[in-house]
Subunit: 149 residues, 2 copies
Amino acid sequence: MPVRAALTHDVVVTFERVFGMLRRVLPVDELSLTAASTLHRLELTGARRLTELAGLEGVTQPAMTQLVSRLERAGLAQRQADPQDGRVVLVEITDRGRDVMQRRREARTQRLNDLIATLDADDRTAIAAALPALHRLTELVPPTPRDEQ
Amino acid sequence: MPVRAALTHDVVVTFERVFGMLRRVLPVDELSLTAASTLHRLELTGARRLTELAGLEGVTQPAMTQLVSRLERAGLAQRQADPQDGRVVLVEITDRGRDVMQRRREARTQRLNDLIATLDADDRTAIAAALPALHRLTELVPPTPRDEQ
DNA sequence: TATTGTTATACTCTATAACTATA
DNA sequence: TATAGTTATAGAGTATAACAATA
């Protein structure tokens, strides 16, 4: 289907432009992409096993071990023992971690707000109208791609 | 303006979800974000000075020196002398660099295409309708934020 | 003296391989 | 013996500070 393929190409090019723009506009505020994504997941879903987090975030188990150690050192997450299985480490976000994520979202929103405010009403409407579709798009990805390997 | 602020908040949250989804779906294929962005810029605009690239990409001069060295080692870009000014290094993309970028875009398009194809027609239409607005949004960012410092 | 770029050094983040502890 | 996690080691990618070369 040529129409669909052309749309996809435009989507890829536009997403890459948006990526680049956000990378320059939004400060990393001390959290790596994986760190922020992991904390966000812990915020939404509660405690998770370390290996499970590694699979969900698409990094190796040693990488997640180190990320969790860094988050723990920064007071943003903490390890817990699993009473059922002595091998397992459960990871959960701390109150401070929630605060940091909250402030991060506010700072990013403020930055982007200045840009979006300069768009005309039609453009803002078009973006707003696409958000539900984009949200559904993100939900299409199998959440645990590594679990099947 | 509450409407506008609410929109921005939703945009930030959705963009972050899209970011995370793309990070898991699209393989990095050996190019870092900065490397891909730099090559893309060199593709579009031709040879640029090293310091200029550092400013455009939002990294320091030493970081760009090292990135260009890695790109050169991989055969994707090359340094050239500036005949007008002996201090200046001009960087340009190679034919192999263009090939790599082309294949990268094709691979990403193919991956995303599978996802987008599963959306319903209304969602695809909404996303397509938002692309021009998103493109304009990316153009709002001053291209060389570090030049003014 | 100012500008352009490189080198030196250090830290984060990632990977693979080898290891420890529990099941 | 298999699974969960950590430690060891190496490389990419970034920063700041010090340096060399050219203007």
